[in-house]
């Protein structure tokens, strides 16, 4: 018998806690309302940056989020350098790429292994999973730490990098450090591929699947990369990154603190690992191409739950490519620092980077004295919100139609899985231990 007149409320998203929440209103067997609300901290920073010198931007903007700190740093530096007309040297470009790969390793390892895999394997946490997969669970944490190590070596510390500067790097890694890192990265590939084999055996539910438009940057070279100069959609459109405001149309909705995004056509879209594989997966090489073939044997299909496996493919790519970048850097002469001379001038610049959760846009306008006149940051999570609501609605409708949605607890868990598959970054910078009253 159909369940009538009920509200499903998920005040915080389980493993994605913060000020976010999901509200679903069901009447009879029809979904009347699906709302997702998040708190978006980056908007505060836009106001905070006005009037500050451009050299202060990266130290401030990186505080939007610790796990996204490498991403925001590179996006901000790229935008500012574009405003000032600064060209990156080969080494600076490679090192920033390496830092982004470190951030991707850290972020994807934590999300895939600690947050997603337990769901799909039927465990309530990564610790419970250790009973059946002890070696895998131990390796997963060491891989996350390897991502921190990459960021620490390049950026000077694992979060909120300090070596990175407008025009270059204040300190460069020594060759022996890069060689040590390269060896550790190469050693991580075999155990990582065992996760790919494990994931390939896990059936992924299809109740959230539906046709989706994807957006990602075209890589700057003919290979799978996290940086590019133009914005592409899976419908074949392509735009220069400077016109991102015409492509990503932001709008406000009553139920959310964050702005939503859609394309000019009004369609919602998805950014992130699944989008990148959909558009550029055929550019993957080596072990990452093997992982892609195992997890997406028929290519990328429209099912947001597969974003977890897309992250796993990217994790293989990030480890493999980071080792290659170390090798490239070892081919350059050792140096203490690298800086390009530049003149301060008035200008406007956009930086767009593919970060773990999707395409990140930063834009700054700078006056002739080097002060920030305006700042604009559009995060992947904000861009994915409208699509998330759409997928949540589809999931509820499919589950109700298949008579799997009568139980509130099951429905909530399934909706949380949809939201978590986007790996949203939601007010993620609080660290509280929650004690039961009896604990003191």
């Amino acid at each position: 018998m159909a369940v009538s007149g009920r509200n499903i409320v998920i005040p915080h998203l389980g493993r994605v806690e913060g000020h976010g929440g999901i509200f679903v209103k069901i009447v009879g067997n029809a979904v009347q309302e699906v709302n997702m609300d998040i708190f978006e901290g980056s908007r505060y920073y836009e106001a905070l940056l006005k009037g500050k010198h451009f050299l202060d931007v990266q130290g401030i903007i990186t505080r939007v989020c610790a796990i996204c700190s490498a991403s925001h740093t590179v996006a901000a530096l790229t935008a500012i350098e574009n405003a000032l007309g600064v060209e990156q040297t080969e080494r600076v470009h490679a090192l920033r790429g390496l830092m982004l790969l470190g951030g991707t390793i850290e972020s994807h390892a934590l999300h895939v292994f600690a947050l997603a895999l337990p769901d799909f394997l039927g465990f309530d946490s990564v610790i419970s999973m250790a009973a059946s997969y002890p070696q895998e669970v131990a390796f997963a944490l060491r891989l996350k730490q390897l991502g921190n190590q990459v960021q620490g070596l390049v950026g000077g510390r694992a979060v909120h990098p300090v070596n990175t500067l407008v025009g270059g790097f204040g300190r460069l890694p020594r060759h022996r450090e890069l060689e040590g890192l390269r060896r550790e990265l190469v050693a991580a590939l075999d155990p990582l591929m065992r996760f790919v084999d494990l994931a390939a055996t896990i059936p992924v539910p299809e109740w959230a699947a539906q046709p989706t438009v994807y957006l990602a940057l075209r890589p700057y070279t003919d290979a799978f990369r996290f940086r590019g100069r133009s914005i592409c959609t899976s419908r074949g459109e392509e735009y220069p990154i400077e016109s991102y405001r015409d492509v990503v149309r932001e709008y406000t909705v009553e139920h959310s603190h964050a702005k939503f995004s859609a394309l000019a056509s009004g369609e919602t879209y998805m950014v992130g690992s699944l989008a990148r594989l959909k558009l550029w997966g055929d550019l993957l090489r080596g072990r990452a191409a093997e992982a892609m073939a195992k997890l997406f044997p028929s290519g990328v299909v429209d099912n947001i739950l597969l974003n977890n496996w897309a992250q796993l493919v990217e994790l293989v790519h990030a480890v493999e490519h980071a080792a290659e970048v170390c090798e490239d850097l070892l081919g350059l002469p050792e140096a203490d620092r690298e800086m390009v001379a530049y003149q301060v001038r008035a200008g406007r610049g956009v930086g767009a980077i593919e970060v773990p959760r999707g395409t990140l846009f930063h834009e700054y306008e700078i006056d002739a004295e080097g002060r920030i006149v305006s700042a604009n940051v559009i995060t992947p999570t904000a861009q994915n919100l409208a699509n998330t609501e759409r997928d949540l609605r589809t999931a509820v409708e499919h589950l109700l139609a298949a008579r799997q949605g009568d139980n509130d607890a099951t429905l909530k868990l399934n909706l949380e899985m949809v939201a978590r598959a986007y790996d949203p970054c939601i007010s993620c910078s609080v660290h509280l231990t929650r004690l039961s009253p009896a604990a003191d």
Binding site: S125, I127, L141, S429, H431, L432, A439, D440
Partner: protein, 162 residues
Amino acid sequence: MRRLLVVGFGNPLQGDDGAGPAVVARLLAGGLPAGCRAVDGGADALRLPDLWRGEEEVLLVDAVASGAPPGTVHRLDHEALLGVAQRHATAHYLSLPESLRWIALAYPDMARVRYRMWGIEAARVALGSGLSPAVAAAVEQTAEEIAAVCLSWSAAADPSGP
């Protein structure tokens, strides 16, 4: 010589969530005896293996939420801390107890570490710096207690001592 590590977790940009780093700052300002080290652990407890240098005992400070009056200082021994059921702290971070459980599985060397925790009940956790008065007072109290623990530890651990 046996060694001891103090780590404060939290984000000073989120009000009282910065209690842990504030305690560490107080300890560093006051100076620590030989064999004792204090570090700001940031918001990700899973980074503990990067901060650890073989210390036998690790004292942890974190903001907590239990419903007790703001500024209440909760003291948890090793077993009580690892027994806290909370799994996830935020979108990307596991809780402190869950992080410690995972670390013990992934880093066999650290399985022998004994933890103690000081948890400071938060009043205001929201974007903005500065501690609320009750939490600021609890930070002072906790820093004094931990400084005393460090002193007695150092005296007991120093083989040249009495």
